[in-house]
Symmetry: D2
Subunit: 341 residues, 4 copies
């Protein structure tokens, strides 16, 4: 059960609601976000929830049987839209493009990419400065210094930044330079990090774990939301299966299923999802038709010289060709709104 | 190495080639198909294959390092097109539609479906008469009697039939009534069945195994081809993973990867691939953008009354809406030929 | 519900039972095996089954909620023992050893192996004559000729034979030479083959599919049993997972779980289960402690010269050392009967 | 390549070695641990490593081709033994028992468990105070207060504590109360946490990720070791597969394979590995035969009242019976040292 309170609820009304909830045998957790005050109530007793709805101070009340409550469409039917300012939005029916290198490598690389994105009218740039690497001896990113340089170039061009945060302590330092915090697949169940990101007021993109389930991805989002941050983007990026012909198995089933279960926007990372440069465009376009609210793409002026993930990174020419196809498909699917009800 | 012989090669030329092949330490298997005579030669020695190409009677020779040779694009660059007559083709750049019920249930059901397909201009009907079921107590299909009835209705309407064959002994009996033999996921490595289908002259559609790899699917096709039948269609239908939010995990990565590795057409079964009726259209459209040469779809006049698979079966109204979207996407992708080189 | 009938039930009693079953809304399938007459009744109505038990001609009646009924321990509490004659048994509390080469290769190879098994007091020899191979160009076994030679050598030494049957048509030809028919992992859901083996009176060993579930393995056994053959052995042989450090992932969890759910004996194939010769002994011993009723082991006088699977095949010296350890563990676990209740 | 330096190497010798390494085109990372000074050198050039070995100040040098170097048996052949003082050891050929509740719940619970362990002569107690939970609304452990209470009871009884640490910031606070830091499956690739644990001087037990590979588990250990901490224990705890008959699929193949690849001790958690109380003993005993250096077991005075994981937790009576069987098996396997070479 989710009880949405009036923002200016009086203390007496509040305790009255608390008593009623307890009386029905429910535990309530208060959640205060950018957009509202919610009480998430967990319990098993059956009763007529209108008895809660009728109480003064209650704006709305919903029965939510799913394990993940605040992120569920069972109480919030309309889509959540992430607003990054200046008409840059994720989840508004369009397909938001987020493109950039796997790793931020140099000022020149960032400048080249920014120039390309500006030319292509792409408004969000991705790029890693803290890189989780399976070997401790591999390149682990330029760190905060790289992030400041990255941010400077993007800010000047009106481009938003999405980049990965690996631990709680980095959040404060990164805060001023980041528009969307990305949680990587390897941290998909780092609950302390999720708790901490729930206490910021910037959007958070959650990648599905290496072998994460749909329910686990929603639970990760529930962690963020229940700590106070409603601005969450879900990201399918391929799962680990027995198949070794590609890096991961892109699971596009996840797109319509997540959108049915949750009001949050769902984006797709086809670069990691197939890991083969020649086939990234096919999977990107497939993702659009599956209903993706956005795409996360690895691009590089010279993919063969990228410090990481070159084998799945598009050149600028390939990216430009793909972006134009995506624009076409966006228009096609706009007419097919029966698909998304 | 694949050596393609001139169809009217003389015996002396033939033995001369055989000697040369043996001299280089290769084992040769002769394959005679509808379209040609091939020698598939397995060995490891390196030598200049032009020495084979120069021999009289040799039409062409190709080095094919892949384990699966005859089905590889390494020797046959152009797409294989399956021609079912009367301009009904699979693999010609369009997206061939194959629709029908999971199981053939009754004359009325078949008649309704045929009428719907005729109205929609869909030329191939699917429908099972021998059903592999996980329980010995479940409905196992109408058998040969059902097939005869099914064929009669389709023939009258100019519609082609694709249906599953479960064992070698059924082939002869089914032959006159079937246009495409389907091998189900559970028989994906039934090598005796594959051998036998390689000896027919009708097209064979091979479903990927429940947890079949790309290489195993190609190997199954190699079985059929190397027994003499070049008319093979590969079918992605979802794989078994840890995820339980859907029946299978549709692996659309397989589409561009199979098309890169093989010259055979690749179709997708989104009905089994997600197993959830509401989301079949999204996955069907995604498959088109991934490059599918066709779609296998479960439809039924009254899905809720279907004897099997009702939960993933589209109603006629849903199917009609989807077919029209697919037509639109087909036209869109026709302009994007750079995707398929 | 399973109704066990008296073997000499009168026709009138039989139809009386049939009427009562139908009256409760159940469908009954009659199963006649080596050991009894059963009616497997499928339905959902709740009623007091003692009303069936009280009818004349009924020996016993059990409610069996599981999907797989005849193989379930819900109606047959005591272990099924497979008796191969001359005190050779599988499922009697001991750990039956089945050893031999992957493929039967030559008379000399068979003679060497038989001599070794006799010396080691191992009573069952494995060896393939029909080999399912992923490539159509690989060695596919010596066929019937090999089987006759294999059988001659084993019969002379009092050794039983287990070998794989790949299709229904082979059953009759193989019948005289085989003591246990093995169904391979790739045919685990070849329902026509299972039906046919259910009509023989020789024991059948069912390997779990490449990514077969526990329920699917039991369903395969239900196919055999419901066709009339109670002599079934279940075999865990490793499953397909994302892990590539070994050929398969041996799933020993399956052993106690299968033994809890079913009365059938459960054996383990550690050779395929790990696929690495040096570690086969560890996994064999682990299987004994997990409760295996037997082990299927690949051995060869010269593993490095084996025509197939050499990398997972034990030499005779390694096998002898392992056999003696297994004997020790058998005695140890005999004292721990609390583990198996 | 791993170069082991003399502990009191002179600065001049050090720079001489550095120059030689660089001259061969290698990058060197210096690692200073409890036991030595190592230079881990990454590069691809081939040269005679004796040229390094001959330099003054070099104790030993080894070519290590594996991606994970310091944890590899390629340079350190003898087993690493974790010494917890007072003759409590992991990795010395015995099977170390670590038992206790999933979560520390109360003083009484801890006291009962400690008393039981003392009586059973079990020297290491497990128990969680920070619990990673898939739902943010579930019980998340007693935290530091619980840990202090837990430690007090164990210290008084001479029992060592192993408990999970979830993030870097907890390390200092927990340090005084913990004997072995456990990293949970969900943090298996939390590289910042691994880095930080590499800087402590207490042993670290690394659980394999939910779908972690053998190589990833070794890489996690390489993170810890390369930060300066050699005291690492690897733990197999079941992997995520398609099979839903049990919570996880215990992968005992991992035990001999990890022990072959690495010098680190390998322990098994059969409680999580099968997740079914009745079958935990079978899997524990199987793990002993697979070669486990220890077992992590969930036990509780009243499993049915445990706050978490009750369905896989042994009662004290069940645990006592299992411990005695494990002791027997330990003696049996001691005689089979040929298994572990």
């Amino acid at each position: 059960m989710i009880i949405q309170l009036h923002p200016e609820i009086a203390a007496a009304q509040r305790s009255r609601i608390g008593e009623t909830v307890a009386q029905f045998g429910y535990d309530a957790k208060e959640v205060i976000t950018q957009h509202g005050i919610y009480w998430v109530c967990v319990g098993t007793a059956g009763f007529d929830i209108r008895r809660i709805g009728a109480l003064a101070g209650v704006k709305d009340v919903h029965r939510v049987d799913a394990a993940n409550k605040l992120v569920s469409r069972l109480w919030k039917v309309e889509d959540t839209i992430i607003d990054l300012g200046n008409t840059i939005r994720i989840g508004d029916g369009s397909c938001a493009l987020m493109a950039g290198p796997c790793s931020v490598e140099s000022e020149e690389q960032v400048a080249d990419t920014v120039a390309f994105l500006v030319q292509q009218n792409v408004k969000i740039m991705r790029g890693g400065v803290f890189k989780p690497r399976s070997s401790p001896y591999a390149f682990r990113g330029l760190g905060m210094e790289g992030l400041r340089m990255f941010a400077k170039a993007c800010r000047a061009a009106g481009i938003r930044i999405i980049t990965e945060v690996m631990e709680q302590e980095q959040i404060d330092a990164m805060y001023d330079y980041v528009d969307v915090f990305q949680v990587g697949a390897r941290n998909a169940q780092n609950f302390n990090l999720l708790d901490a990101l729930g206490k910021t007021d910037k959007p958070v993109l959650l990648k599905r774990g290496l072998s994460g389930t749909i329910d686990e991805l929603l639970a990760a989002a529930e962690y963020v939301f229940s700590n106070g941050n409603e601005q969450i983007i879900l990201c399918e990026r391929g799962i680990r299966t027995y198949e070794k012909a590609y890096r991961n198995t892109l699971d596009l089933n996840a797109v319509p299923v997540l959108k049915e279960k949750s009001h949050l926007p769902v984006v797709v990372d086809p670069s990691h999802g197939i890991g083969l440069r020649a086939h990234v465009p096919h999977m990107a376009l497939a993702a659009v038709m599956a209903g993706a609210d956005g795409l996360l793409l690895e691009i590089h002026a010279q993919p063969e010289k990228a410090l990481s993930d070159g084998q799945q990174t598009l050149s600028f020419a390939e990216a430009a060709s793909l972006f134009s196809k995506i624009k076409t498909l966006e228009m096609v699917r706009e007419n097919w709104m029966d698909l998304w009800q």
